[in-house]
Symmetry: C2
Subunit: 162 residues, 2 copies
Amino acid sequence: MNDQQQLCVKMVLDAWTKEIGATNALLEKLSDEQLMQEVSPTRNRGVYLLGHLTAEHDEMLSLLRFQEAMYPELMPVFMDAPDRTVATLPSIQQLRAQWNAVNDTLMEHMNRLSADEWFTRHANISEEDFPKEPHRDRLNVIVSRTSHLAYHRGQLALLEGK
Amino acid sequence: MNDQQQLCVKMVLDAWTKEIGATNALLEKLSDEQLMQEVSPTRNRGVYLLGHLTAEHDEMLSLLRFQEAMYPELMPVFMDAPDRTVATLPSIQQLRAQWNAVNDTLMEHMNRLSADEWFTRHANISEEDFPKEPHRDRLNVIVSRTSHLAYHRGQLALLEGK
């Protein structure tokens, strides 16, 4: 462990925290009515993207080998199925609470991890294969999920003023 | 320099390369006519976002202390001014070419940088102040611009099927 390694881990984690903060600030500004709108005609509704992001972050809990998913029932609705194909969605109020709970739980686990532990494998690669693909570590999960979140935040931002 | 530090730099640069690749694949699918559409009613047009991303990446050339911007004339049109306030925009054909030229030039410089050099200051912080804020290094420019690109790629993706 050296300074630059610690710094690199810090930059990746700070980018995650910043992206979560920006998304939360946006979600606070958006009303439940706005979240029921499509981000663009015929495309996903805000409520679907909120559920999708919550399910994706919930899945990170197991991918990062922290704990089991908190709300596995979100997966078939917001990951496997496209928007408007499931008759009854959870309420936006409930999804907002689950979004916060999942991210808070993730952050608690993340804060407990040492810089070295970020370079250990994520759950989708075995201990045997990991030495051959050392980039498939826990830190890379944060790197890729930060981009995923930014991608959908860009879409959710289009609901402002609707 | 140790293995984990090299790995961390590689993960950040790979995320950038992947995001550029995904954006290029999307831009190839989008026709010039689609790029003239708004990503959502009353919001930015595709052509503006393409110019905006090109101007932002062009600015990275000097921020990363590589070279001067290649197309500084894009800045007032696509960074300082909002969409639809400038009478005449460059053609989409020209913007597509500039987008590719800027990213190719960035990548050439990036490939020449050693892992250690990524942890040196970017151009917006002085040599005197850098030791107090060591996270303001060149690598962090890539981290933040990867999220910025993902944010707008999420919006450009809404033009598919329009």
